[in-house]
Amino acid sequence: MASRQRGATDPAGDREILSAGDVARTVARMAHQIIEKTALDAPSAPDVVLMGIPSRGAPLARRLAAKIAEFSGRQVHEGTLDITLYRDDLRRGPTRPLETTKLPEGGIDDKLVVLVDDVLFSGRTIRAALDALRDHGRPRAVQLAVLVDRGHRELPIRADYVGKNLPTSKTEDVVVMLDEFDGRDGVVLK
């Protein structure tokens, strides 16, 4: 997407917010922030577990874990946590397929869990994720990392690590594309 200018609007009315390069840089910056805030490079570093929320939070958690290992030399555990069964809107649409849940070896008890998702919007997904975590164990603390915070919260929830704050209108769509699903990285506002 190098040929395309950032912020440019294509004929379909889509605006590119982050290019592939931006996504990589943003993930790297978030990895640094996680290392700093959790004091991961200190001798008494906590046990950090990154839990990605499917679908796109899962590869983001994997990328963050790889970057954290690269920058700090510390291997953090990562897993995926499907929140579908904890949603508050299951009866407002057709049957939702379930996604993968995979806890890291050693579980989440007494760990510092960082939830990872692509977009933070109403906050309801995170509310569901907190409920799901509670059934899997008792983390020491829970933090939240999101690639894009688009505002319009409906619950008292905020992120500890934000890749990009993006003011949006409620009718707009924030589309996060990741190589693992979409063949390329990028964030587009539709």
């Binding site: 904890y86 299951l90 009866r91 649409g93 049957t95 996604e99 899997h136």
Partner: protein, 310 residues
């Protein structure tokens, strides 16, 4: 999906969706501190068993409870059924009392379909937990789940269903489901225990178990259903066992990877020898374990979406 009455009519995508949900539920519950999901909180599931059952009733009850539904069990003895209330009136009573889902087992073939007809203009879902000699869809789904676990996929796999096919709802449900999922099914039974019209089923038919075993990826042994037999279908149980029982010698005829299934309850020494039932190739306890996850998945697909009609 509003009801689950039979596997006849379930297409490959629908069946795969339920089996995938069951896999994910199993995964989500693995190693958890709290084995309970909030998904069906506030929903009421009633089991209505007009026939004896251990595993199916318990498995549905556990499935509902693990998803936080309120589960109420009604059996024919101890309810107004023993005073002569009809199935229709009992069903309408349970619906009026607030059932979101009625799970029914009944000795009459077609009972679940009738029930769904009576509840047509309500939001109550019906699950067939076995109706006479007709269908037992969740049993077939848990068999398919177990075979997927052991064999990877059912595509092109060969499955022999052996024994009392005539009286078996398990066999009927499995024939539809396994063929929809791409398996090749062979029915192995004496001519007296095969239903009329079997030649129109999408299956091969054989009368010799020894001839079939070497080429199978799985063999499903059926219980001889003495309670449904009204005539002489075979000379003696000893003779049946010799001709169609899965004994140690026959186990050796099966390929090493082949899976032995039995829907239970087993008659050890009759259709299946004890050593076979306890061998590593037997997946009989896995079937029971998968039964809970498959039934959770069925409840999820029936109850966790917007209402389809009012």
């Amino acid at each position: 999906m509003k009801h689950l009455l039979s596997t006849d009519g379930l297409d490959r995508d629908q069946a795969t969706a339920i089996l995938d949900t069951a896999d994910r539920l199993k995964q989500a519950l693995l190693g958890r501190e709290v084995r309970k999901l909030p998904t069906l909180r506030g929903r009421t599931v009633i089991t209505m068993f007009y026939e004896n059952s251990t595993r199916t009733r318990v498995s549905f009850e556990i499935a509902g409870k693990w998803m936080s539904a309120d589960v109420i069990n009604v059996s024919s003895s101890g309810s107004s059924v023993s005073k002569g209330e009809s199935l229709r009136d009992t069903a309408l009573t349970l619906q009026a009392a607030g059932a979101d889902c009625v799970i029914v087992r009944h000795p009459a073939s077609g009972a679940a379909h009738r029930l769904a007809g009576w509840l047509k203009h309500t939001n109550t879902s019906v699950v067939n937990a076995g109706d006479g000699m007709h269908e037992h869809p969740t049993q077939a789904l848990l068999d398919a789940a177990t075979l997927r676990d052991r064999l990877g996929s059912l595509d092109g796999r060969r499955v022999a269903i052996v024994g009392d096919v005539l009286h078996s709802r398990v066999a009927r449900s499995n024939v539809h489901l396994l063929t929809a999922l791409g398996a090749e099914v062979t029915l192995v039974a004496p001519p007296t225990l095969l239903p009329t019209g079997v030649e129109k089923w999408p299956v091969a038919v054989s009368h010799s178990i020894d001839a079939e075993l070497a080429s199978q990826d799985a063999v499903m042994m059926l219980r001889v259903q003495a309670e449904r037999m009204t005539g002489g279908f075979f000379p003696s149980s000893r003779e049946y066992s010799i001709a169609y029982g899965l004994n140690e010698r026959r186990l050796k005829l099966l390929p090493e990877h082949a899976v032995v299934l039995h829907p239970g309850p087993m008659l050890r020494g009759m259709e299946i020898a004890s050593v076979v039932a306890d061998s590593p190739q037997a997946a009989i306890t896995e079937q029971v374990r998968n039964g809970v996850h498959v039934r959770m998945a069925v409840l999820y697909h029936l109850l966790a979406h917007e209402e389809e009609n009012a």
